[in-house]
Amino acid sequence: MYYDKLIFEISKEGRKGFSLPKSEFTSHKLENELLRKSDALLPEVSELDVVRHYTNVSFKNFGVEKGFYPLGSCTMKYNPKVNEDIASMSEFNMHPYQPLESVQGTLEIYYETQKILSELSGLHTYSLNPYAGAHGELVGLMIMKKYHMDRNDLLRTKVIVPDSAHGTNPASAVVAGFESIEVVSNSDGTVNIDSLKELLSDEIAGIMLTNPNTIGMFEKDILEIAKLVHDAGGLLYYDGANLNPILGLARPGDMGFDIMHINLHKTFSTPHGGGGPGSGPVGVVEHLVKYLPSPVVKKVDDKFIIEDTNDSTIGQVSHFYGNMGVVIKAYTYLLTVGKENMGNIGRFSVLNANYIKESLKDDYLLPIKGICKHEFVFDGLIDKSEHVTTLDVAKRLLDYDVHPPTVYFPLVFKESLMIEPTETESKDTIDEFIKVMKIIAEEARNTPDLVKGAPYNTVVKRLDEATAARKPLVKYRDLLE
C-alpha cells in the first residue's frame, strides 16, 4: 500500500510522544509583548506513531544498501557500519567550548586525519572545517583571493573553469567575488592548451580543475597546465570530487595543485545522508597554510593544540569546528583501509568503470574512447531511431531496482549518462547491471513505448514537475488552503 500521510495528518490533539522530568524550578514568565500570539501547528503523536510513520516513509527511499547506485561524480560507495558505531561513542559528544586539554582525544583525531589527507593528496596542511564540497570550494577560493590581495595583485579578478566542470565551480567562484570564465575543452573534456594560453593573463587569479575530469579522463598535460598557470601568476585549485580513482596512486600536490578540497562523503565513505551532512576539508601548499580557516590542529610536546592563525587566516567560515561527527567516520575508514589497501581503492574503482564501459559500448554511444578512470559518459543509446532518451533509460532502470546514473551532466554531451560504479561493487553486481542495461537497449528498439512510459514498479510514477514550479506548495499549511 502507498503510504503518503504527513506527520501532521496523523496528529491528534492531546496525544504525546515524549517524557521530561518534572521541572524543579519556578516558572519564569516573559513579558507578553515578547511572546508569540498562537502556538505553532506542530504534530501531536505517540512514540509508536513517530516510529511507524518514519519507517513507512523510509520504505519510499533507495539507499546504497538496497542496490547498485552508479551515480556519476557522487562516489556512492559502501558506508561501513563500524564508522557509525565509532562516531556515536558518547565520549566524543562534547560541548565545543570545552577547554582543549579536556578534548585531546578529539583533537588527536583531527590531527591524524589532517596528516593522512596531506599524505594522500600531497598538500602540506589541511583544515577540516568546511561542511561540504561546495563549502570547501568557497573556502579554497577565498584562500586564492587572499593570496593575491596580500600581494596587492588586485587585478586578478577572474577564475578559469572548464565547460565540463561541476556547476558548483563557477557558482563558488562568483560567491567568492571572482568572475568565472570558461576554457574550451577538447573533445574528451580535457583542457585545450591553446585556449588556456589565450586566457592566461595578469587578470587570472587561478584555474579550477577536476582531475580526472567529469568525463572520467585524466588530464595528461597537467604538468604543462600547472607550469603555464603558475608562470602567469595564477594558482591551481583541485576539485576533489573525483579523487577516488587516483587514491593511493597519484597525488594532486605532485601535479602542481596549490589548493584542494576533499569530499569525505565521497572518497572516504561517510554516508551522503540524503544530501548531507558531508565534510569538505581544504588542503594547501606550504606557503598558503597561514590562510587556512581554524581549526588547524598541531602537536606540541605530545599535546594537541589549535593553531592561532588570527592574524593571517581568510577569516571564520563556520560557527565552530566543522562537522566533527563526519570527520570521525572518515578517520575510522582511513585506518580500516590503511596503507596496504589504499591503492586498490583507486585501482578497482577504475577497473569496474572500464569493465562496464567496454561491456555496453555496442548498445550505448561512447563519445570518448579509451581507458577512463572511475567514471565515464555515454551519450544516450546508439540507436536513437525510436527517440528513446537518456531520461527514459534512467526511469526504466528504476523498474529493475537500480539507481540510475547521473543524467544530462556533463553538459558537453546532449544525452549524457554518467556512470560511476565505485570499487565496493562486485563483478556479480556489475554483470547484473550490464544485463539490465542491455535489456533496456533491446526494449528501446522493440518496444520503445514501454521504456518511454517507465517507471512502472515505483511507489509513484513520473511526476508533474512543471506544475510544482508554477504554483509552489511548500508546506503542510499550503495544502489546507
Binding site: T26, V51, K66, P96, G274, H319, F348, V474, K475, Y476
Partner: protein, 442 residues
C-alpha cells in the same frame, strides 16, 4: 583480499580481458610516470578489533564536562527514537533526491521539515536546510544584497560574535561592506540604527535571543526599514520559537538560525543544521533546495525538488548561491525531534531551560563577587559580571568536572568581566547548586 573490495583474482582476470589490457597498471598508463609511485606514509590497515581498541584509547583522552554554557550550542535532551530512525539505511545512505520516484522518503521529510520551519518562524517558505546558523546568516546577507542591488549591510553588535565574523568573512571576499550597529545596555541601540540606516544598505541583521541571552523587542524595526526599502534579517533560536514572538510577527523578510536547539547532540560543534526561511515574494531568490508537492501521472500526491532554476547545477555562475546539498539528515533529525516532542514537548523543554537559567542567574548573582549587569529579561543564556578572573573561574570549575561560562572578553577586551552562562532542561537543581557552591568558594 580486503573486506570492502570484493574482487577475486578470477574476477580481475576476466574483467581485464573484457577491457583488453593485461594488468591493473595498464589502467593508469596515461598518467605521467613522475606522478606515480609515491610511497605512502600512512597508518597500516586496522582490523575492526584494532579500530575499537584505537578509539577506546582516544575516547579515554577526552574528559566530559557538565556544560553551563550555551552561546550557540545547547545541551538539550535527545529522545532515543531519533537515532534509530536517522540510522535507517534508506535515509542514511541515499544521495540527494534527484530521482524523485525512488526518493519520496527523503522528499517527504524535507517537506515536513519545511512545514515545521514555516510553523516555527511564521514565514511562508523554508528551504531544505543550510550548513549552520552562522553560514545561513551570511547567505541571507547575499540574498538581501542581491535583491536590493545594494552592497552594504548593517548588523547589530548584539549578534553572536562568531556569526558576525562569518558574515564579515563572506562579505569581504564577495565585495560587500558590513557596518556594525552599536549596542546599549545589552540590546541593539535603536538610535544608532536609525542614524546609520539609509538607501545604501540592503537591510539589517539582528539576533533573538541575542548573544547575551536577552530577548530583544524588535517591534519598531519594520517601519524604520520601510523608509529605506531595507530588508529585515533575523537570526533566531529555533527551539525558542515555540514560545517567543516569531520573525513573521516582527515583519522579518529572511529568518535564519541554527536548529541545534531541537535536540541535536553537542558533538563538538557539528553536524548541526542551519535554516533559512523567507516570504512568498522572495521565494525565487532563496538559496538551496526547496521541496514542493505535485502529482504523479496517476494523480497520486508526491514530492519533488522545485524552483531548481535558482540553483548552481542549473545556473552555474549565475546561481544565487553555490550551496548544493548540505545537512539533509539533520533536517530529518529535527523533523523527528519535532514529531516526538510535539507541540507541547519542545515548549516544555525550552521553558524548563529558561526556568533553570533564571534559577542559576538569581543564585549566582546573590554571591558577593557576581553581579547583574543588564536590566532586560533573557531566555536560556544569561550574562553575569564578576570581579574575579574568568580564566581562574573556569579552571576551578574544570577541576570539579564542570564546563563554566564563556568569557565575553574573548571577543571584546572591554567586556572581560562579563560571563555568559546557560542551563537547559537537562540541568538539575543539584548540579546548579554544586556550580554555585564552587563559585561561592572562590
Amino acid at each position: 583480499m580486503f573486506k570492502y573490495l570484493p574482487h577475486t583474482q578470477k574476477d580481475i582476470q576476466e574483467m581485464l580481458e573484457v577491457i583488453g589490457i593485461n594488468s591493473l597498471d595498464d589502467l593508469f598508463s596515461e598518467i605521467p610516470s613522475d606522478l606515480l609511485g609515491h610511497e605512502l606514509d600512512i597508518p597500516k590497515a586496522h582490523s575492526e578489533l584494532e579500530i575499537y581498541k584505537r578509539f577506546a584509547d582516544l575516547a579515554a583522552k577526552n574528559k566530559y564536562l557538565i556544560p553551563f554554557v550555551g552561546a550557540g550550542a545547547y545541551d538539550h535532551y535527545t529522545p532515543s527514537v531519533i537515532k534509530h530512525i536517522i540510522s535507517r539505511q534508506e535515509f542514511l545512505t541515499a544521495y540527494t533526491p534527484y530521482q524523485p520516484e525512488i526518493s519520496q522518503g527523503t522528499l517527504q521529510y524535507i517537506f515536513e521539515y519545511q512545514s515545521i520551519i514555516s510553523e516555527l518562524t511564521g514565514m511562508h517558505v523554508s528551504n531544505a536546510s543550510m550548513y549552520d546558523g552562522a553560514t545561513a546568516t551570511a547567505e541571507a546577507m547575499f540574498m538581501a544584497t542581491n535583491v536590493r542591488k545594494r552592497n552594504k549591510i548593517l548588523i547589530s553588535k548584539t549578534v553572536n560574535p562568531n556569526i558576525i565574523n562569518v558574515v564579515k568573512t563572506y562579505a569581504l571576499y564577495h565585495g560587500l561592506e558590513v557596518e556594525l550597529v552599536e549596542e546599549k545596555d545589552g540590546i541593539t541601540n535603536i538610535e544608532d540604527f536609525k542614524n546609520k540606516n539609509s538607501n545604501e544598505y540592503a537591510g539589517i541583521i539582528v539576533q533573538n535571543p541575542n548573544f547575551y541571552g536577552i530577548v530583544e523587542d524588535y517591534s519598531d524595526y519594520r517601519n524604520i526599514l520601510d523608509e529605506t526599502k531595507g530588508l529585515f534579517i533575523m537570526n533566531h533560536d529555533l527551539g525558542g520559537l515555540t514560545i517567543l514572538k516569531t520573525p513573521e510577527e516582527y515583519g522579518v523578510d529572511i529568518a535564519v538560525g541554527d536548529g541545534q536547539t531541537l535536540g541535536i547532540p553537542l558533538s563538538f560543534g557539528g553536524p548541526y543544521i542551519g535554516y533559512l526561511a523567507s516570504t512568498k515574494k522572495l521565494m525565487r531568490k532563496m538559496p538551496g533546495r526547496i521541496c514542493g508537492v505535485t502529482k504523479d501521472s496517476e494523480g497520486k500526491r508526491a514530492y519533488v525538488l522545485t524552483l531548481q532554476a535558482r540553483e548552481q547545477h542549473i545556473r552555474r555562475e549565475k546561481a544565487v548561491s553555490n550551496i548544493c546539498s548540505n545537512q539533509s539528515l539533520m533536517a530529518l533529525f529535527v523533523t523527528v525531534y519535532t514529531a516526538v516532542m510535539g507541540k507541547e514537548g519542545i515548549k516544555e523543554a525550552q521553558a524548563n531551560s529558561v526556568n533553570a537559567t533564571h534559577y542559576l542567574y538569581e543564585k549566582i548573582t546573590k554571591l558577593p563577587k557576581f553581579n547583574k549587569v543588564f536590566k532586560h529579561d533573557f531566555f536560556k543564556d544569561c550574562t553575569i559580571e564578576t570581579s574575579l578572573d574568568p580564566k581562574m573561574i573556569n579552571q576551578k570549575l574544570l577541576e570539579q568536572g564542570i564546563l563554566g561560562p564563556l568569557s565575553i572578553g574573548k571577543y571584546d577586551e572591554s567586556k572581560k568581566n562579563l560571563l555568559l552562562f546557560s542551563a537547559t532542561e537537562k540541568r538539575t537543581k543539584t548540579e546548579i547548586d554544586k556550580l554555585v557552591n564552587v563559585l561561592e568558594a572562590l
